[in-house]
Symmetry: C2
Subunit: 387 residues, 2 copies
Amino acid sequence: MKNFNYSIPTKIFFGRDQINVLGDQIKKYGSKVLLVYGGGSIKKSGLYEKVVDIFNKNNIIFWELPGVEPNPRITSVRKGAEICKQNHIDIILAVGGGSSIDCSKVIGAAACYDGEPWDLVIDPRKIKKVLPIASILTLAATGSEMDAGAVITNLETNQKLGTGHKDMAPKFSILDPTNTFTVPKSQTAAGTADIMSHIFEVYFNNTKGVYLQDRMAEALLKTCINYGSKAMENPEDYEARSNLMWASSLAINGLLTYGKETKWSVHPMEHELSAFYDITHGVGLAILTPHWMKYVLNDHTLNKFVEYGVNVWNIDENLDKYEIAHKSIEETKKFFISLGIPSTLREVGIEEESLEKMANQSTVRGSIGNFLPLDSKDILNIYKAAL
Amino acid sequence: MKNFNYSIPTKIFFGRDQINVLGDQIKKYGSKVLLVYGGGSIKKSGLYEKVVDIFNKNNIIFWELPGVEPNPRITSVRKGAEICKQNHIDIILAVGGGSSIDCSKVIGAAACYDGEPWDLVIDPRKIKKVLPIASILTLAATGSEMDAGAVITNLETNQKLGTGHKDMAPKFSILDPTNTFTVPKSQTAAGTADIMSHIFEVYFNNTKGVYLQDRMAEALLKTCINYGSKAMENPEDYEARSNLMWASSLAINGLLTYGKETKWSVHPMEHELSAFYDITHGVGLAILTPHWMKYVLNDHTLNKFVEYGVNVWNIDENLDKYEIAHKSIEETKKFFISLGIPSTLREVGIEEESLEKMANQSTVRGSIGNFLPLDSKDILNIYKAAL
């Protein structure tokens, strides 16, 4: 186990009607709010109206940035930062999924920065100050509600990059599972795949002596496997929605990473798919994951796959190790298919022509992953296998 | 899953040599420290000297409260509070296990209270303010390093009671597993039993829909089972010591409880044993736990024991449910015996004569537990079975 410093400052208000804390929590930071959200779903569900009601009752003035894209764009960040600067915004409230929250985080940093916001994505060290961020979560997926990272897309340069700063972690997040009752099946599936992928990124890892962290990771993986399809079959299954929602936060808030040396693999590979084709992030992850697993399986990584197969998928531990490993990968793929997620790149409109370009771009910051480091040639092979 | 508000404010500095952060962290709160510790073990190990060195280098003035008892007494709290009041102490640093930390927490509250410190144990609502608390942990057991509770013994009244306040949670705790290398075998065993008991208290529970929390609890139980005897066999096994140490904190920092309605059972029963006989807390817990399990096993609680047996002890899920349950209890008992912990009350000098008195006293605040609520008659039966 590696040394680590644990600090998870985000307060979580979890459960039905927790929106009731909103007024008091916001007023701790001021009275001028930038409200950030995506398409119209929060208006359809009535959540928008509830928020506005609370603002009015508490004399909170607000500005709006609607229309944040599913892969949030730097153009939205620029707009939001302008509003913050012009109106001396005190706190940014994202109402939505990871896209709105990620966008808000970088808006918060850009509002305190004099230069071009994209600088802060390319080089997180330039982030010195961030406006307070808060969120009301409506989609269990990215975990952005409880972590300090954000991913922003620049369509001008075909780049989708992660950035982060400790002060980007939301001051508080309201997690009411009923706010995810209206999430469509396909997004529920993609969200579940995203949560699982966050766990895989740190579970498939070489740090020794992290038994506790690995059992925790398996606990969360089993939660996703147990509830993913239940939430799809019965969108108002509170038990399923609440377990998935809490799993989304715990998967990425640091708990599974503390004590490990981590470097992600499948996310940076997927970011290129989304950057070039604007596909749903979780879908890209689900397509790539089994192929990534097959590619990195070797004599050195074998035992980790055996652990995964036995502990997560209950595969008979007396089988041959490679048989267990292959079965575990097969189960992973079958699970994503059972959620109705496409299993090939072609199904989501990605053809061979751009694979090489994407593979090259995914390694502009160097090789990816540390379970088995991958260069652009490796990534191209994985993309091809996933076609 | 129940509604919950998540907030775990304690910062953890985990790993080798993390004591290096001590000076900077203390100075965030002031320059006058009350140093609280137990017997001489921190002097033997050299830890005391390291702390004093850092204090001197950082111009930190300190007062000392040595000799805190294994079941910390209200008399020590009184002494500590007096020192704080007279010298305008800024922060209390506990160096030791749960006893020193618990004692420090109540000293911190008593230092801000004009009346008799025992009031604050009997009625936690009287706690309005607490001096900042910090800790350097030397024993993986109580989890006091990351929670907001404390247990204090009053030998004048033969009472051992829990109290708590959100501001009692340490501002920071330094968890260096090498500081537990010198913990004797018997204390390592008792500490492991204590961690497991904290988990049992919330795992054996009736709240519905808490799959995630239960899998997390199992992850931590497996960690204790995997490393308890390893740490005893090889006291300098860093992997074992670090996993146990981190498990001790996560078992009780709220993570396993959020979303559940919990009310403890075995701890309040054990507190009477320690209050009357001053025995090691973890030993009392290990003796009582299997008997408590047998006593509360019935048609309503059966499924939880099956879950426990299958998921934690790998008992064949195809067996008869009661067979699984009984086997799981047997495994629990065998595990504690394998750690060299006595398995009967008589072995630790407790005879039948005081059982009734203790059973009555354990329920002065009402019935205990909510998995199966127990009155004094039930508790007497469990004590008798454990004789």
